[in-house]
Amino acid sequence: MKNSTILLVEDNPKDELLTLRALNKCHVANEIVVVRDGAEALDYLFSEGDHADREVSDLPTLVLLDLKLPKVDGLEVLRRIRADVRTKLLPVVILTSSDEEKDIIAGYELGANSYVRKPVEFSDFGVAVADLGRYWLITNEPPPVKKGRTP
């Protein structure tokens, strides 16, 4: 695999730490890039702003996307990912506290690959993150990497 980066979009530093710890616990060795709001996530993915020197085609293997984010919310980030030909096949898993039905429906409608609620209990949280890592990084066959043209 050319790139096996995981993009974690998470504004809560404690959740970030717990997610990283959980991934670490289940021996996920992939590089994990953390961005802390929706705008930065989009900058990273489309190589803009602070991430302008990044190669756009160098996409992460998986995006773990929180919904409630500063600046640009998670659903909007997802919409932009799906709207762009370069990123529309990118596996995106929504990882959020919300179990509101409308969020779940909106998430799937916008093309989320998975919707996972962050459980309060850490053991459950750890299991959920570990399951995610296993499935998306090992079991799942990612879409073939396409060389996108930089606009």
Binding site: N12, K14, D15, L17, L18, R21, L67, K68, T96, S97, S98, D99, E100, E101, K118, P119, V120, E121, F122, S123, F125, G126
Partner: protein
């Protein structure tokens, strides 16, 4: 008698030598006098009765002796009324002066009936011009009088109906000339009858304010004359200056041959109705505006509520996750540096955060149960109950509970909310049988008076019926948390969901003898005929 004799003498003297002829003629006169249908008599100028004919005697059935030689006004024809006696005396006095007198009076017949009599008294003069004789005559005019009275009465009734009517009414000749207008119409517009009688209807003050209406009325008269009924809404100016709304109609009246002989215009004042209609329209508009406003307020409140619960759902959990997560991290990564008390405290931290998390979930469920649209569909409650029980068994696989679920129980309800109901009721049954060695849970239905009643029954800890009113209140619990954990929000949520389905929920139980929760789902389609 002397006068009569002298008259006779004169008569006879003119026809000397013709005594036989005279006698014949005299007899003839007597016959004519007596056979006349009119009452007749002969009086002296002072009123003394000389002779009365048979018709007059028959009229009141009296004897000659009561009459002849008496003053006429003291005879039986007159004695019933001093007023009429006086009237007669005056009349005779006048006649004695040479006047021809005529007046109406009444006589009372033998049967006590009053009859109207037209009386004339003619003076008869001699050659010198002196009044020597009075000839009273009386004609029975009772029939005519009665007809006149009947006519007057019917005229009076007509007038009363016509004038007292609340409707504006009139009578027109077929060409539209006003014959009569009732008082209601005159009063409305402050018109005098004399001002409009004989005028063309369309040129009267009722139409003066609108040329258009005048034309319309003129046209209506033409149509009416052709036998058509015309009606339209119009306005009349009233004395106070305002315009009254009128439902106007013009109807032709035909004779037996079908010719239009009269036109009857009628007007019903519908100003009140119009005003009421306008009021209702305005009230409706205000009501609608208010409903729109309330709906908007409600929507706003709902949106705020949604934002609030969304925030609760999302943000309140994050700190709990941190508390629990880092407690675990401590327990796992620093176990060697913590003594047993330290580890116990960390466990308490984790327990606290779990309880808080349950509380948040419960509140969210409660709030969700009262908002949003119901998505009504056919729901298989038996399999739903089955799923719930399986999850409970999975979570506590060492529990031995016998569960009986009636097959094929269906409901027409909101699936998501019914799931909350089943989870709570079966979950409670599961929880409160936890101290039984022979726990038993049942889900089934009963039909009570054509209504399907769903029930969840257990043989667990039960409850005291004295406290049953507290069962469905939020945060009210009948058991200590140490006995049976819980936050006391499940049944409150269930009740709200059942109420939203127009159903009812109630419970029966006894301490140590289990509990049964019954509920209905109100709406149509929730009946099981078996």
């Amino acid at each position: 008698m002397r006068t009569t004799d002298s008259l006779k003498t004169k008569y006879v003297s003119e026809r000397k030598g013709k005594a036989d002829a005279s006698r014949e003629s005299d007899a003839l006169l007597r016959v004519i006098f007596d056979q006349s249908f009119q009452m007749m008599g002969l009086l002296k100028p002072d009123g003394t009765v000389l002779k009365i004919n048979r018709t007059a005697y028959q009229f009141i059935n009296c004897e000659e002796s009561e009459v002849i030689g008496r003053l006429f006004w003291e005879t039986p024809w007159w004695t019933h009324s001093p007023t009429e006696q006086e009237q007669l005396r005056e009349a005779i006095k006048a006649a004695a002066q040479g006047e021809f007198v005529r007046f109406e009076t009444t006589h009372q017949t033998t049967k006590g009936k009053f009859v109207y009599v037209d009386v004339t008294i003619k003076p008869v003069r001699n050659e010198k011009g002196d009044v020597v004789l009075l000839v009273p005559e009386g004609r029975d005019i009772t029939d005519r009088k009665m007809a006149e009275n009947a006519l007057r009465e019917s005229e009076w009734i007509f007038r009363a109906v016509f004038d007292q009517n609340f409707q504006l009414m009139g009578l027109l000749s077929p060409d539209g000339t006003i014959i009569n207008v009732n008082r209601t119409a005159l009063r409305l517009s402050g018109v005098r009858e004399s001002d409009v009688k004989g005028k063309p209807f369309w040129e009267t003050p009722w139409w003066a304010h609108s040329k258009e209406l005048q034309d319309q009325v003129h046209e209506a008269v033409k149509k009416g004359a052709r036998g058509e009924i015309v009606s339209f809404e119009a306005t009349h100016p009233s004395v106070d200056g305002s315009l009254h709304h009128i439902e106007f109609s013009l109807k032709p009246v035909k004779d037996e041959e079908g010719n239009v002989v009269l036109l009857v215009p009628e007007g019903r004042d519908i100003s009140e109705r119009k005003r009421a209609e306008a009021d209702i329209r305005q009230l409706n508009q205000e009501l609608e505006a208010r409903v729109i406003e309330r709906t908007r307020e409600l929507e706003l409140a709902n949106r705020e509520m949604e934002a609030f619960t969304y925030s609760v759902s999302h943000d309140l959990r994050a700190p709990l996750r941190a508390i629990d997560g880092f407690s675990v991290a401590l327990l796992e990564d620093y176990a060697d540096r913590l003594d047993d008390d330290g580890k116990t405290y960390l466990r308490y931290l984790r327990e606290g955060s779990r309880e808080m998390s349950d509380l948040i979930d419960g509140l969210l469920n409660l709030s969700r149960s009262t908002r949003g649209e119901l998505a009504i569909e056919r729901v298989d409650l038996s399999s739903m109950a089955d799923t719930v029980v399986n999850e409970l068994r999975k979570a506590e696989h060492d529990r031995r509970v016998s569960v009986r679920i009636a097959p094929g129980v269906e409901a027409v309800a909101d699936r998501r909310l019914l799931r909350v109901v089943m989870e709570n009721l079966i979950g409670n049954a599961w929880k409160y049988t936890s101290r039984n060695s022979d726990g038993c849970i049942e889900f089934s239905i009963e039909t009570v008076q054509d209504e399907t009643v769903y029930l969840v029954r257990d043989n667990g800890a039960g409850f005291d019926m004295a406290y049953r009113s507290k069962l469905f209140l939020p945060f009210q619990r009948l058991h200590k948390t140490t006995e049976f954990p819980g936050i006391g929000i499940g049944l409150a949520t269930v009740e709200r969901i059942i109420h939203r389905h127009q159903g009812r929920i109630w419970a029966e139980g006894a301490v140590g003898a289990g509990a049964t929760f019954f509920f209905t789902l109100g709406s149509k389609g929730n009946s099981h005929e078996k």
